[in-house]
């Protein structure tokens, strides 16, 4: 395997010194690759992304190794991380309604971001801002740079958020549920836009979503997270056609599709709190394939071919 753009090894997010909210997440993101992080809310997807950015909320800390294009970010100070954020890793957040500063013109924030990382004149930065808005499909970008967020629709605001994340050409984009807060028709547009932009720029992306449909459409590989850890990972097509982990299978069975003859199979119970994880496999209390071993020994993520799996009794 050639050099990964982003190499995450043994990443945990720790609360109060001992509770691991995200535990031991490892993945490699190749150049131009889109990796999906899929799971229910509370599975640790967003915290994984925030920890990569060095933007964890107060009280949480990160352990493990993060390498970005070979550069180890582990020991980076806040000042050093500021230079990485927006320049080498960009992030798109879920809610475009609250994610943009209500009293700043969008162009002003775009210009500020360009000049933070590039030594260019204000006029040049402004040109880049207009170009960036045009690239993400904002109509009449020359006028829109002077707009305030409240003058734009939700879809347009999310396009602005994407422009903001992309404007300094980072090699990695973290997208945290970028379409969840949008109308269905807009969702498809934004999904396509993100794929096109990633491809056009040769960037890589980690896409966090609970929507398997979005993952299927966009991602080269998918990692399924449960209770803070990755339980299964593999090439998207393979993983969705032939899920081996019972949790992945259950997620697929619970996802709506156009086949009305099939009733949705809800997963019984709720994910455990990181403060009260069961012994053994964290999924075993909800698992229909649980055996004795599942409640005593935690399965380890094991590589098999191009996939990885953590389960004592997987589907074939």
């Amino acid at each position: 395997m050639d050099e990964a753009v982003l190499d995450v090894d043994g990443l945990s997010v720790v609360h109060g010194g001992d509770t691991r909210i995200v535990q031991d997440v490892s993945f490699r993101l190749g150049r131009g690759e889109i990796l999906g992080l899929v799971g229910e809310s509370g599975s640790g997807k967003s915290l994984t992304a925030l920890s990569l950015m060095g933007l964890l909320p107060p009280g949480l800390s990160r352990t493990g190794t993060v390498r970005l294009r070979g550069e180890d970010l582990t020991g980076h100070s806040e000042k050093q991380m500021e230079r990485v954020r927006g320049a080498q890793i960009g992030m798109v957040f879920q809610d475009p309604m609250t994610g943009l500063n209500p009293v700043r013109r969008i162009g002003s924030v775009l210009v500020e971001t360009v000049r933070r990382h590039q030594d260019v004149s204000r006029a040049a930065a402004r040109e880049k801002a207009v170009e960036a808005l045009a690239a993400v499909g904002v109509p009449s970008p020359g006028d829109r740079v002077r707009a305030y967020p409240h003058q734009l629709s939700g879809g347009l605001r999310q396009r602005v958020m994407i422009a903001l994340a992309l404007i300094n050409e980072p090699s990695v984009i973290l997208a945290d549920e970028p379409t969840t807060a949008l109308d269905t028709t807009i969702q498809a547009q934004i999904t396509q836009l993100m794929r096109d932009q990633i491809q056009a720029r040769g960037a890589s992306m980690v896409l966090i979503t609970h929507d398997l449909g979005v993952a299927a459409e966009l991602c080269d590989r998918v990692a399924v997270m449960y209770s803070g850890g990755v339980v299964e990972e593999g090439p998207t097509r393979e993983l969705l056609r032939n899920p081996r982990h019972p949790y992945t299978a259950a997620l697929l069975a619970a996802a709506p599709n156009f086949d009305r003859s099939r009733t949705l199979a809800a997963i019984p119970g709720a994910p455990p709190s990181p403060f009260a994880r069961p012994d053994g496999c964290p999924f075993h209390p909800r698992c229909d394939r649980a055996q004795d071993a599942c409640s005593t020994k935690e399965p380890v993520l094991t590589v098999s071919g191009s996939a990885r799996l953590a389960c004592w009794n997987p589907h074939d």
Binding site: F93, R104, R144
Partner: protein, 335 residues
């Protein structure tokens, strides 16, 4: 950090593209708004004047007081007649309101000068002190509050925030007296009386500001702390913004919008005359004039002063509203 590109929107043209044509009757709406505000003002002034008229007459027989302690009954009667105090109350009231409507409050009992002129003469001194104090207040409280709020869990910030809380309970005149003792009496650096020299404004303005600073600091720091948790701040940090930029250009413009109303209120309180501070520093403003006139039962002056103050407070509040409407792009009318 050299980027000062577009400071948070004080001026500027709104987006023209894609806007529908302006709705009809915008000028009409503005005129209606002004008319409504104006009628509110008239109503307010009427109510204040009425209240004042009766309050002043509840406190005893004005003629007796005006004539002085040693006056004979004849002299008292003469005074009563001179000021029209012998007429029935209703008639006195009608006369008063009719005259007040023409801004005629009579002449000062003490000086014989036109009461309103006397009041308006004092206005510049009060406005000068009020503006100076509010400005000083903002210069101290905004950076201080931003510092506390930007790291509200920090140790130094917690201590500072405790000091501010205690300071809020400190009456302004205590600070004034301490300042006089130190800077005027012991060090002899600054004048403590009157407004003859420019430096004379320093001590009273600092005293007033010291009284205002704790409250504004608390509001600014609370707003800053709250804004620090907003999604758009995380967006800015994810784009690589430095802490400095985050606080100055993302957090403060939002936090200050919330504090602007308080500054407006503080200014409104001060333009009505800083009663105690003006007396302590013998500052020839409205406050000192009012205290003196109340003591001397100089009705015309008191009435003219209260009338003026009510109008001033109203105008200050209206100006604050208007300013907020300009500063906050979400409230700005689409032009």
């Amino acid at each position: 950090m050299t980027d000062t590109a577009s400071a948070p929107a004080v001026t500027g043209t709104p987006v023209a593209a894609g806007r529908p044509a302006r709705p009809p009757g915008r000028a009409g709406r503005l005129a209606r708004m002004l008319a409504s505000r104006l009628s509110q003002l008239v109503l307010l002034l009427f109510a204040v004047s009425t209240l004042l008229f009766f309050l002043l007459r509840l406190t005893g027989d004005p003629a007796t007081t005006l004539a002085g302690q040693d006056a004979t009954p004849d002299q008292v009667e003469a005074v009563r007649e001179q000021y029209g105090l012998d007429a029935p109350l209703a008639k006195q009231y009608a006369t008063f309101i009719l005259r007040a409507a023409q801004l005629d409050f009579g002449t000062s009992v003490q000086s014989g000068a036109n009461a309103l002129t006397e009041v308006l003469d004092r206005l510049p001194a009060t406005l000068q002190l009020a503006l100076l104090a509010v400005l000083l207040n903002m210069l101290v409280a905004i950076p201080f509050g931003a510092w506390i709020g930007s790291r509200s869990d920090g140790r130094a910030q917690s201590i500072a925030s405790g000091v501010v809380f205690v300071g809020q309970g400190m009456p302004g005149y205590v600070i004034g007296l301490v300042l006089i003792q130190v800077f005027a009496v012991q060090l002899g650096l600054l004048p403590s009386i009157g407004n003859a020299s420019a430096s004379a404004a320093i001590l009273p303005a600092v005293s007033l500001a010291a009284f205002l600073v704790p409250r504004l600091t608390r509001v600014v720091s609370a707003n800053v702390a709250e804004t620090m948790d907003e999604d758009f701040v995380r967006t800015a940090r994810a784009a690589g913004a430095s802490r400095h930029t985050v606080i100055l250009r993302h957090v403060l413009p939002n936090a200050l919008l919330g504090a602007a109303a308080l500054v407006g209120t503080q200014l409104a309180i001060l333009v009505s005359g800083a009663l105690i501070i003006e007396v302590i520093f013998a500052w020839p403003g409205l406050g000192a004039l009012m205290i003196n006139s109340v003591q001397q039962l100089d009705f015309p002056i008191v009435q003219a002063a209260v009338f003026t103050i009510a109008g001033l407070v109203f105008l200050t509040n209206m100006a604050t509203d208007a300013l907020l409407g300009i500063l906050d792009p979400r409230l700005r009318r689409q032009r």
